[in-house]
């Protein structure tokens, strides 16, 4: 029924894992970046759309959010890129011990960041129920918190996995490198949102 075959090559010597765009996981993660990035972009579009309908921003009588907690969070988030880069390099060198160490540092920093993050909600000076302005800045913050917590949880699980027998599989290093890439996405997305929540209302008001 089916055609007879003719052997035209052998694949046995190919590697069983690779980094970056050679791996399937990388493409999956990039596709998720596109989805989440589009969501953020549309939420930002919503922000500007609603801003266009107001006389002042924030609309009277509200005052702009207090930037202290948000700024502390932002500084920590940017600093965490240092251990994150080191973790990514360790993963690419397949250096398990260094990877464990730097990933744990990233996780510890995340745990600290949760504190200013929680205070951010208290410094917005508006409730989501007050008006559309309040609704949209709460939403932007909420979206990013979800993004942040997701990768925090992901890093924790991955760190745990690195202390089990599964850590010898070379795929773990690909996972770790990709997790580090995701972390970059988290802080990249945060920067415009940070400006929109805390600074734009000050500049234009």
């Amino acid at each position: 029924m089916t055609l007879p075959v003719r052997f035209a090559g052998d694949l046995a010597e190919l590697p069983t894992s690779a980094f970056g765009h050679r791996s399937l996981t990388w493409w999956g993660i990039v596709a998720f970046f596109l989805i989440e990035g589009t969501t953020f972009a549309l939420a930002i579009g919503t922000y500007f759309y609603l801003m266009g309908g107001e006389q002042t921003w924030p609309p009277a009588p509200f005052s702009p959010p207090n930037p202290i907690a948000g700024t502390i969070f932002t500084v920590l988030l940017l600093l965490s890129e240092i251990p994150n880069t080191l973790a990514k390099r360790a993963a690419e060198r397949k250096d398990l011990r260094a990877l464990r160490k730097y990933l744990l540092i990233v996780c510890a920093m995340c745990a600290v960041m949760v504190i200013p993050r929680a205070f951010e909600f208290a410094s917005l000076n508006v409730s989501w129920k007050d008006n559309a302005y309040g609704s949209v800045i709460w939403t932007l913050l909420f979206l990013h918190v979800t993004n942040f917590l997701t990768d925090f949880a992901d890093s924790l699980v991955l760190a745990g996995l690195l202390f089990t027998k599964h850590s010898v599989e070379s795929r773990r290093f690909v996972d770790a490198a990709e997790n580090a890439m995701y972390w970059r996405f988290v802080w990249l997305c945060w920067l415009p949102i940070y400006v929109l929540i805390y600074w734009l209302p000050r500049w234009v008001s």
Partner: protein
């Protein structure tokens, strides 16, 4: 841990081929027997079939809603149903057709066909694929259970604010609609991610982008469109739920929100959605035309460019759904021009198909008949679309039956006809048997004629001023005969569907047995047996042209060396499809089902309390950890190199 070289593990090759290889691969790639195997399977073919059958069930449900509406409209001043029932019916019909039938079934066909067409063993992220199906099923069941309980949504398939807002739609109806959106978006986005990764990384050696089958191109462009458009409706509906449940004011003009924000976000998705339905259908048409005209598709590069252009332009025209809301002058001109521009790539494709048939030796079997019906119907729908791109005409016919006629011509003509053709065409691959030709032709003619009788009169009804979404109309308007005609046509269509379904069931049991390639078609999916084995291909095929089976009549070139004792597939480079990595593929697992159940609990209970989002996150997280935690001890090979 010893490091083994590639050669030391069991692989296909000179020593292992034929029946021995088949048996070995079947053990590695087979599912557990019975119900457990059904629940845990990660086989793209089983999940694809499941998706297709479920989509067809939703088609039938939406079709029955349509019949019920047409029965009500058959005569003027009919009191068969209440206006509330009618509102629920058109909402359920439109919502089901768009979100539970058309988009999912196109993705479902891709789930089944794409891995076979590109010569790989399974789709990428197979457990995500299983998860996607369960989410889709849960969302569809939820909304239909609500309908049966008489709390079906009633604000139309696009649920405009302020009608759908907390003030004018109290109760849970709209929340259920909005949450159904969340379910189907999660499902659709998951499939889109899988398709992008599969198509870019898992093509058979030698299948460069320029040799990729046109359906695969359609699936790729569609997947990107899903990725860029679905977040918009997911965001829109989440904001709507927030307005309704926790008192935000996104769409509330009184607190400086804006109801028109909804229309922007919805149509930024809604217009691309039409192409998400249409582009895969053009893929079907290309394959069918090619196989039955017995020549390669005319002007392949033009076809690919048209697909990509359509995908891009589709994101620039959403405002044409909002002409009646008032726009700046320049806005009108811009969106009219952009809308007219979309018709150019569609026209190019149509010319190419006609040229393919013209230059080939067409055999008018049932699938090709559907292609002809598609061309005729879609061109009529396209012409009425071009008419509405002109703002004065649009303002005149807005919200009348003219629009209803237009979008059924493009949706049924542009998607359902190609789908029925595709179903007939790939039925032997799905099942190993042919569909009956005579019953197929009867169903075809009934559906084609019935459709024109049902929908052509609606153009006139619209021009005569009959508004859409009315549950009845007065006698003296001159609309009576045309409405009766439309109802008769609808029943002919329904009868035709019955014939089609009977044919499918009958053929499944007793149809003529099909060989691997019953139509003498050129694509790789026809190189393997019908239905294909769990592992799709015993050896990985190698491709050196766009029509591999026509160019290798005597034997199929293949590559050997993938492991047969573990699920392994081949990754190739993105552009040139050069073999690169041997990658493991997921084993069967029940975790996707558990994860989908946890997510379903979260989504449904969040209709009732916002705390569900916080509390429900924990079981979801637990299920995801269970899912990703490695199950088997580290294997002999993939260790630190």
């Amino acid at each position: 841990m010893t490091v083994l070289s590639g050669k030391d593990l069991p692989r296909d090759g000179e020593q292992l081929q034929g029946p021995a290889l088949d048996a070995r691969l079947a053990r590695t790639w087979g599912d557990a027997p019975g119900l457990w195997g059904w629940i845990t399977t990660t086989d793209h073919k089983r999940i694809g079939i499941r998706y297709i059958v479920t989509g067809m069930v939703f088609l039938v449900l939406a079709g029955l809603s349509a019949l019920w509406m047409r029965l009500q409209l058959a005569t003027p001043e009919n009191s068969m149903m209440t206006p509330d029932r009618y509102n629920q019916l058109f909402t359920m019909h439109g919502t089901t057709m768009m979100f539970l039938f058309a988009v999912p079934i196109m993705e479902a066909m891709a789930i089944y066909l794409v891995p076979l067409m590109i010569g790989t063993r399974n789709i990428s992220f197979p457990r995500l694929n299983a998860f996607s199906y369960w989410m889709y099923l849960a969302g569809g069941v939820m909304i239909w259970v609500a309908f049966v309980l008489n709390i079906g949504p009633d604000a139309g398939w696009f649920s405009y604010t302020p009608l759908s807002g907390p003030q004018f739609s109290p109760g849970k109806r709209v929340d259920i609609w909005a949450q159904m959106i969340t379910f189907t978006e999660v499902a659709a986005l998951a499939v889109a991610v899988e398709l992008v990764a599969t198509i870019l990384k898992q093509r058979a050696p030698g299948m460069t982008l320029a040799r990729m089958p046109l359906f695969v191109w359609g699936a790729l462009v569609t997947a990107f469109m899903v990725i860029f458009s679905m977040p918009s409706v997911a965001l829109a509906s989440s904001l709507l739920i927030a307005d309704r449940l926790i008192g935000t004011h996104f769409y509330n003009a009184a607190e400086h929100g804006d109801p028109l924000l909804w229309q922007h976000l919805f149509w930024f998705f809604g217009h691309p959605e039409v192409y998400i339905i249409f582009l895969p259908a053009t893929g079907f048409v290309s394959h069918i035309t090619e196989a039955f005209s017995r020549r390669p598709v005319f002007a392949y590069p033009a076809m690919v460019l048209s697909l990509v252009t359509t995908g891009l332009l589709a994101f620039g025209v959403w405002v044409h759904h909002m002409f009646a809301t008032g726009l700046p002058r320049l806005g009108y001109s811009f969106y009219t021009a952009a809308t007219l521009a979309v018709s150019i790539p569609a026209a190019i494709q149509i010319f190419c198909w006609i040229a393919t048939m013209w230059d080939g030796r067409p055999r008018f079997r049932v699938p090709l008949l559907y292609v002809v019906a598609f061309i005729v119907t879609f061109v009529i729908g396209g012409l009425s679309g071009v008419m509405q791109a002109s703002v004065p005409i649009d303002l005149q016919v807005h919200d009348t039956y003219f629009v209803v006629a237009h979008f059924h011509y493009v949706l049924v003509g542009g998607a359902v006809f190609p789908l029925l053709g595709a179903f007939t065409y790939w039925f032997p691959k799905f099942t190993g048997r042919m569909m009956d030709d005579r019953l197929g032709k009867i169903a075809f003619w009934m559906i084609f004629i019935g459709f024109q009788v049902a929908f052509f009169p609606m153009h006139f009804l619209g021009l005569m001023g009959m508004p859409r979404r009315v549950y009845t109309y007065p006698t003296n308007m001159g609309w009576d005969e045309l409405n009766l005609l439309a109802t008769i046509g609808s029943f002919v269509v329904a009868a035709a569907f019955l014939v089609f379904i009977v044919n499918a069931i009958f053929s499944l049991a007793r149809g003529a047995v099909a060989g691997a390639n019953p139509w003498d078609a050129p694509g790789l999916e026809w190189a393997t047996s019908s239905p294909p084995p769990q592992y799709n291909f015993p050896h990985i095929p190698v491709v050196s042209s766009r029509t591999p089976l026509w160019d290798n009549r005597n034997h199929l070139p293949v590559m050997t060396g993938l492991r047969v004792d573990d699920r392994e597939l081949l990754l190739t480079s993105v552009m040139e499809a050069i073999p690169d990595v041997r990658d493991p593929s997921a084993m069967p697992s029940a975790w996707p089902l558990w994860a989908a159940m946890a997510t379903t609990c979260l989504f449904i209970s969040s209709i009732f309390t916002p705390w569900a989002v916080v509390i429900g996150a924990f079981p979801v997280a637990a299920a995801l950890i269970g899912w990703f935690w490695p199950k088997s001890p580290p294997g002999p090979e993939p260790v630190i190199e």
